[in-house]
Symmetry: C2
Amino acid sequence: MRQETVKVAIWGFGAMGSGMAKMLLDKKGVEIVGVCDRNESRVGKDIHEILGVERKNHQPVIVNADIDAVLDGKKIDVCLCATDSFTEKAFPRLKHVLEKKINVISTAEEMAYPQAQNPNLAAELDQIAKENGVSILGTGINPGLIMDLLVVVLTGCMTDVTHVEAKRVNSLSPFGHAVMEEQGVGITVDAFNKGVEDGSLAGHVGFAESIRMIGDAIGWNVGDIKTQMAPIVTSVDRKSPHGFAAAGNVAGVSMTGQGYVDGEVKIDMIHPQQIEPEMEGTYTGDYITLKGTPEVNMSIKPEVEGGLGTIAMCVNMIPQIINADPGLKTMLDLPVPRAIMGDMRNFIKA
Amino acid sequence: MRQETVKVAIWGFGAMGSGMAKMLLDKKGVEIVGVCDRNESRVGKDIHEILGVERKNHQPVIVNADIDAVLDGKKIDVCLCATDSFTEKAFPRLKHVLEKKINVISTAEEMAYPQAQNPNLAAELDQIAKENGVSILGTGINPGLIMDLLVVVLTGCMTDVTHVEAKRVNSLSPFGHAVMEEQGVGITVDAFNKGVEDGSLAGHVGFAESIRMIGDAIGWNVGDIKTQMAPIVTSVDRKSPHGFAAAGNVAGVSMTGQGYVDGEVKIDMIHPQQIEPEMEGTYTGDYITLKGTPEVNMSIKPEVEGGLGTIAMCVNMIPQIINADPGLKTMLDLPVPRAIMGDMRNFIKA
């Protein structure tokens, strides 16, 4: 077994970054050696204080707004980057870390398969990683597992696949104000439609990534990818801890996407997300329906919680990205994700 | 892309071996270059004739009882070995193929994780494979995917796991006489109990492998593994294409298994298999219930068909075992299984 603890830095200490820190503090054989965040309420504070957990035998970790101060002069195995959703925006930060010869795991949704929308940046990240002898992975619950990797794994027991449908029906109720705003919760239908038109409403980011990942994995040459966003209009008042939608207004967003192969829709993505879905009889769950031989009808009920799921996926892939050959990796390239219940050092190859 | 087609030999042309051949004949970029089987009804015949399929542009492949005649003097990328269930019995054959510098995929249930019950043979296979610059993998639907790899993948979205339950409720109706006999279908309860006692009734082979694979994957140090076999006694006459159980006799076998961690059952395996389960209100399916954070409740209904699933898993892992570093591999070591819908050569690394 490796003697030295696995050393992790975290860039971005919002819901995801701080959740990963909390998870890491409960694990054996791993240590948080630095945290970068520019939010003034956090800078200069010890992460244990921010998280409201006892420090026990851990060293204090003071949040610093300067990434170089966090990363320089230390031995660091991996930096968890939880700052962005889009590859283009994340790129300079990811490059910066790779050039310090530190492995990277990114929570950016588009980084789950950057080949899909930014093939040039993906190639550049691959080259930078190789030049610096380290590796980089984007992952999360979705994209990263539920609507793509899990689909791919299940096709593994099929002799022939003719159509893929992945459906994730989830609740936005556990999420905070930022997500309410991004998804249009509580606004009018007019405001929603305007937001879709001017691009200010993001909805779910990841269909292009999931569709392209599935296609590349099983050898379907996906041509066009189309996506649609529609408001989920509530007929009753719905209230969640951080959101409210009055009857007639928007309780969430219904996203659909299609991947075309030879002019035919072969991959369907269906992803309605809203606050308090049960109030109008919608029950959450993850569903994968694979047509072909044999057919596979999978469901996970309720849906795997997005926040916890993303936190877990990023932390659980730390050994795989440390063990990987240099370069840009996707979930298709690496051994399967798995929970880390023992000492993390046992997961690292000599 | 690689120019040369992927070249496959098959050892054992029973239900699994012939099913894999049929699947391979429908794929692009791959070629069956030899088949070994000692069944007199098959020796000397062309596999297309045996399979009842048109030969089209494929070369004839004459079944030969002599493995050396099948393997020697040809370039072969992988040999699919579908001859045994147990590592000890398969070992000399697997060694024989590896020593010819040919990669191996084995359908033997115990080979899905030979470390579980034959750690010495596993180490020996690893060494032989490395000495010959090739790799070897055991896989199938179960063990191989449903009650182990899929469990492991789903733990990937969990920050903490406290208990694992994998349940596979399947129908034996599609299977032939050999399986009816192995599972005790149609015999009396007395005969069943005698068969369990003297070891002539195998039931499902794979609990030790699945339990050990899950434990090793997530870092649980599994101590004792216990398994039980009980008859499923039918209260009505049940008839399947190749089996019959009169009321009061045995319609199948209910297998249960437990993996202990620190004296506590942390992994539960539940696997009832019988003919015509619907006749007494049992509906087939695969179920994974993971306790911890967050909890995951997965179901696949109906269950993934065992025969087709095993055939698909073995064929679909061909690229991964060709691409692998030399040595003994398990499903935990390799990139995820996936259907092969395009030219198989595109799946092979340069």
